[in-house]
Amino acid sequence: MSLSSNVTPSPPSSKSGFDVFWRLAEDIPKPLQTTLMVASIGLPFFLWWLVTTFGTVDPKFLPSPGDVANAFGRLWSTGELLKDIVASLWRVGVGFLLAALFSIPVGVLMGSFPSIRALLEPLFGLMRYMPAPAFIPLLILYLGIGEEPKIMLIFIGVFFFNSLMVMDTVKFVPKDLIEATYTLGGNRLQTLLQVIFPYVLPGILDACRINLAAAWQLVIVSELIAATEGLGRRISVAGRFLKTDEIFVGLIVIGVIGLAFDLFFQYLLRMSCQWANQKR
């Protein structure tokens, strides 16, 4: 039997669309990727339009895209929407910054020093499993119904998660890198500030990105319960008056702002830590 007779070309099926689509952990062609990404947003939008235009759905239940656009224009022109956006952004900004300000150093210390980890990890591990919204009654009791309980809610919801996630990134700093620093004459403080911290910075930014999403959800939750303005408040009021189109405006604006946060952090990560950029 000759060897060459056994050599067959690669199976023709590998060229089929089916195979390209179901490639496992492999790049797909750029045009296909773009098409799928556009479809991801476009298809649900198209279905929405289709149902509300040709279906017989009560607009009180499902307003058409046009209705929602009109509601957006109405709320925007009166300045109400902008006021709501600013109110929500302010709360999330203050609450998240405070949480980051405390959780990043605490997380770095927990990751670097087993003693501090032993001291704090059990408590944080427990607190993490208490859903932040469950604290709302207590927060109202302690702090009233002003801005403080809302900011505190975000703080509670972000601080413990962020500390633990930062700790995890610090724990995975290669031991060799730390020891190499000692052999170059570095002391512990220098190692912490000049080696460990820069090494974990991308991980910290990524943890913040993920937890900002949680903060953004919590601000809406807090406003659903007690607020005079804010995007959550807008939705809750619209619900009371059955203004479904305004609920949709609120939801879409919340989603778009959240996505913008995410993209901003991804950009920050790319710009500040070029060394950590990996081809994904």
Partner: protein
Amino acid sequence: MFLLIDRLSKNFETKDGTLVVLKDITMEIEQGEFICAVGASGSGKSTLLRQIAGLDMPTTGEVRIDGQRVNGPGPDRGMVFQHYTLYPWMTVQENTEFGLKLQGIPKNARREKASYYLNVVGLAKFARSLPKELSGGMKQRVAIARALTSEPKVLLMDEPFGALDIHTKESMHEFMLDLWQRTNLTVFMITHDVEEAVFLSNRIYALGARPGTVRKEITIKLPERMHHVKRHPIFHDYRDELMELLRSHGQEALAAAA
């Protein structure tokens, strides 16, 4: 004696009791020597290097460098690790300068010295590159330059070429020899690669395993240190002798473990 390892023993406490990793190790190394400690896995060679570096303290015995007892890590014993330990966010230049920066040397002085040593390892034109842009062999050359910038009394190397492919490894061997001859450096390297040890060192300590002990000390005298010396009968004699030493120890260790 320049570098003295004096009756050093190291025990580790495990849940099954005390594990003797190194037992009564004595080594005497003169300035300008290139020493390899060769051992199979379980010979405690990495542990030994850590004691010299001061990253770990011996249970009994001591390490003295230039008369001074080693109490902790320091830039007088530059270390090159097996795994790449360059700081990924720093350029090659910044990596090379970093030891001097930690030691508080002013910017101009450290830049000058780092440039000099980058030149010595032949990587001056990569000064502005990031480590991820370099090949494995180049990364190790930067790590060597980084250690040399502090002008250490001894350069400690922990299987520095273990992760490199065979061709890169061979060119790194020639690079090391050249560097050693040009700089009058004292090198203490550990490896399990017998040919590497014979080719590079002027003296070899063969380590036995479990516990790690000095089994034999061999002075290497090769007619020349060129690539083709690896085909020379003397080279083969050294290699075979060492292989035999390590092999018999592997069997002893197996018997001891059974």
